[in-house]
């Protein structure tokens, strides 16, 4: 995994960050009669509207995550910013492990719960140090959604002194054995 680089000079302007999971069921490509992720979708849209309130939003995500971001931003009528445009808002598409239960996509791995607990604590604490130090090799084994995105989130948070960011977690659950968070971080 390679962390996306953060261009100096643009990152300083970031004041709003939202985190959503890269759940493909959020895409319009995969519609159901009953939305299997209705609560998650509602939380994602709330976070996306919030992060987009200040203007265009830059997306941090892998290829699939970028599609999820585009769909959510589109649904919330928030424009997407280019990488070097100095957007104040950033949408990070990343999630926890996918090995939390026997029914999880990656089957049960006993290390998953502890990994997610630590990652969740880092998110809630807006802990730049913990996020940038994420064990991306283990994250890969545990099928974490876009580990590099978590590292980049840490880098973004590190642009300001510790304690300058406040996190608000709108969703924290693992309905399919995959850990999802929807969170907003403001400075």
């Amino acid at each position: 995994m390679t962390a996306h680089s953060v261009a100096t000079g643009t990152a300083a302007a970031v004041s709003r960050i939202a985190v959503v999971p890269g759940v493909l069921a959020l895409l319009p490509d995969y519609p159901s009669r009953v939305d299997p992720v209705a609560d998650l979708r509602a939380a994602c849209l709330e976070a996306v509207r919030w992060v987009g309130a200040g203007g265009p939003v830059r997306v941090v995500g892998d290829a699939q995550g970028a599609r999820v971001a585009e769909a959510l931003l589109g649904a919330a009528s928030v424009p997407v910013s280019g990488a070097g445009d100095g957007a104040a808002g950033v949408l990070v598409v990343a999630n926890g492990t996918a090995r939390r239960t026997e029914k999880a996509p990656g089957y049960l791995d006993d290390r998953a719960a502890g990994f997610d607990a630590a990652l969740g604590a880092a998110l809630r604490g807006a802990d730049a140090e913990q996020l940038t130090a994420l064990d991306t090799a283990l994250a890969g084994e545990l099928l974490v959604g876009h580990p590099a995105g978590w590292v980049e989130l840490g880098s973004l948070l590190a642009q300001l002194p510790s304690g300058e960011w406040a996190a608000d977690v709108l969703y924290d659950d693992d309905p399919f054995g995959v850990q999802y968070w929807v969170a907003t971080l403001s400075s």
Partner: protein
Amino acid sequence: MLRLGRQTFADDQTLVMAIVNRTPDSFFDKGATWAEEKAHERVASVVAQGAEIVDIGGIKAAPGVEISAAEEKARVVDFVARVREEHPGLVISVDTWRAEVGDAVCQAGADLLNDAWGGADPELVDVAAQHDVAMVCTHTGGATPRTRPFRVEYEDVVRAAIDDTMAYADRAVAAGVREESVIIDPAHDFGKNTFHSLEVTRRLGEMVATGRPVLVSLSNKDFVGESLDLPVGERLIGTLAATTACALAGARIYRVHQVVETRQTVDMANVIAGRLLPARAIRGLQ
């Protein structure tokens, strides 16, 4: 839009019509709902199972003891009135070919006249128009009500079914039945041998292509039994396979004995055809 008396339905919606017999001798249930309370229980049961329509019949289709119009009315009219009262949102269909009976059941609250005998009584369309109810126009090849086919042959059974049902539909519209309230039915086994019913099933898409909503009545019929060499009572799986074929072709209404099994079959076929979304898909998309 499809309008069935009091109710309207979107053009992409499939409907299950549950058979409720007020007869002592119909081929499948053999009088199971002849007792009036049993028939009411059957209605409540199929409504709970999700049937949008009940089709109430007072005379079995096969030959047998002659049932007068007065006797037919005695079997169905008060029954329809009570079903109307107990299930205000339910579409009530009555399986009759007689205008006199049709008039009485419409006054009692019927929404749809299912003329399984293809216009044998020319005044039935006028009754439907007067009461602003819907009509099912079936193809029987000109068969007399309650007769079995005997050495019937067609140049092209599907062409005949389309031409006759569309002509009957035009007659209904000319009489004043709403365009959106006319349904056509190839009538499997009516005036048809098994080969005819199979061909109609195979080529049902040609009937759907007319643009009129198509009803199919396949449930436990002889063409299923002869295809599989199975007696009445062992034809559910064959019925559901035929239902799949018709659903893929785009049939809209399914007249059935088994509601739950039919609804699942029709929905599955329509999900495969891409006309209906999966109920709740998350596998691999978490």
